[in-house]
Symmetry: C2
Subunit: 271 residues, 2 copies
DNA sequence: GGATCATTTCTCACTCAGTGGAAACTGTTT
DNA sequence: AAACAGTTTCCACTGAGTGAGAAATGATCC
């Protein structure tokens, strides 16, 4: 009947985190039942843990009963990777002010580009990325830049896995991609045309730290303006240098919390 | 010797969250021992839980051994309160572009102003607030606006508690503050001079939602420019109206995850 | 009104995941 | 080589955690 027929190996912590992870993807508020199904945690256990999380403000329950991430969690998490964001933010802002185009900053997180910051106005451009969101390295300009300047083994490992297309324009041929990355290194910038979303093109340049690729900054412009994209290259490079100068004195590890370490190219294996 | 002489009432979840909360205030990376002391969780338990959190990417360990918040946590938490941030962001951005001054958006979180967004350039202005940070309602322009337009019982409860000064200029007299709040309502804006930090002044206007105060937007300017602050009032009010129009169709609850509910004026009591 | 379905909340006997003091280990300083 | 600070491992004990089922709650339909 009742009692401890629990699956060995599952810890309370893992259940709590599994519940929190459900909200990584879902946009809207979820019911307990949905959380239970998505996380694999039994319903009554979900009930208890969710309520405890709500008490702590990590989750919150709306008047309609749906459960969402709480602002307390958000406020705490703002301290993660703060140093890079705070340092780079004014420069990304300047980049936007000077170009008027959506400006963004990304780092490598495993085999994805993680968008750390993004400045945009009310101009309407198709948007695929969002702050805190991830996109494949091979489909985005910021990603290509990161890939192009990474250590060889990173690039090799990345290109040896299957590359999924996102739109019809996404480059997925490993051989051609390798050539493209060489071009990126030769030219000093990467550009994509509608590889992530139709109607948007992007351009990006590297930001180095202690001689290695640290992050990447780029612009997203409407496809109709794609021709003028290269015009912004000098600004991009100038801003990149200013970010490099501002972050040079900060140990790489304290910038981001050692996320971009090598081990994470492949998502962490279980055990 | 060993064994379960644990304090009843403490759950695993509470320990995990207590550990995560330690990082709400601390800026730098912490050692296990420090985390253990700050959270009240015994060292060996801290060791085990922290390692599990690191495996999940909620925390991360730098090469020097210090533990920090992980980017995984940050990425997940970006989904909290996303609707308001995403909707309002372009307008806060416009506010900055039009004024050239640090622009910010805050909501009420209990008896504090919680800064949801902040746009600023490389201009140097003394800064006290940060995204994700909190400041007392009575000392900031955004806070005074929120207080002025809140339901009476909120204002009454707030003014009946002791008000701590931050600088020598912070207004802390309840009677005078009440008069000031009436002025705010009469004029439609709040202004402060060096009440939070010397060298900075601020001005803010309300943003309404379904007839009630929803959030507040404001500018921070260097004290030397304080005279010109009022000049930006029309822009502030215009942006406020545009945010109101953009958020009107969104249920209040989904905007933020029902944080600004009444119960939270006083920090949640234990039990 | 009340029957039907979906979701949330409560119950409770069982037991293994969690516990934390002590000891071992590692790296750094004197 | 000894003292020190921080980290990791060990292990016997036990109550916090467990989850199926039942009971409450609340929509929705006829």
């Amino acid at each position: 009947m009742a009692g401890g027929n629990r699956v060995p190996g599952s810890t309370v912590t893992s259940k709590v985190l599994a519940i929190m992870e459900v909200f990584e993807t879902s946009r809207r508020a979820l019911s307990l039942t949905e959380i239970s199904e998505a996380s694999g945690v039994p319903l009554s256990t979900t009930h208890r843990l969710v309520n405890e999380l709500i008490e702590w403000g990590m989750l919150s329950r709306g008047s309609t009963g749906g459960v969402q991430l709480g602002l307390r969690l958000w406020a705490i998490a703002q301290n993660a990777g703060r140093q890079l964001r705070d340092t780079a933010r004014p420069f990304v802002q300047d980049l936007f002010s000077l170009t008027g185009e959506t400006s963004q900053l990304a780092v490598r997180d495993g085999n994805m580009a993680l968008y750390i910051d993004r400045v945009y106005g009310s101009k309407r451009v198709p948007r695929a990325s969002r702050v805190g969101g991830r996109l494949p390295l091979h489909a985005t300009a910021v990603g290509k830049v990161i890939l192009a300047y990474s250590e060889d083994w990173v690039t090799d490992a990345y290109l040896s896995q299957p590359l999924a297309p996102i739109t019809g324009h996404t480059h997925v041929n490993p051989g051609r991609l390798r050539t493209e990355l060489a071009q990126v290194r030769a030219r000093g910038y990467a550009a994509t045309q509608e590889e992530v979303i139709l109607g948007a093109c992007s351009i990006a340049v590297p930001v180095f730290h202690t001689g290695r690729i640290g992050c990447s900054i780029g612009l997203v412009v409407a496809s109709t303006n794609a021709g003028a994209m290269l015009r912004h290259l000098p600004v991009l490079q100038g801003i990149s240098q200013r970010i490099e100068a501002s972050t040079a004195h900060i140990p790489l590890e304290t910038l981001l919390g050692s996320l971009t370490s090598g081990e994470l190219l492949q998502p962490p294996h279980s055990e």
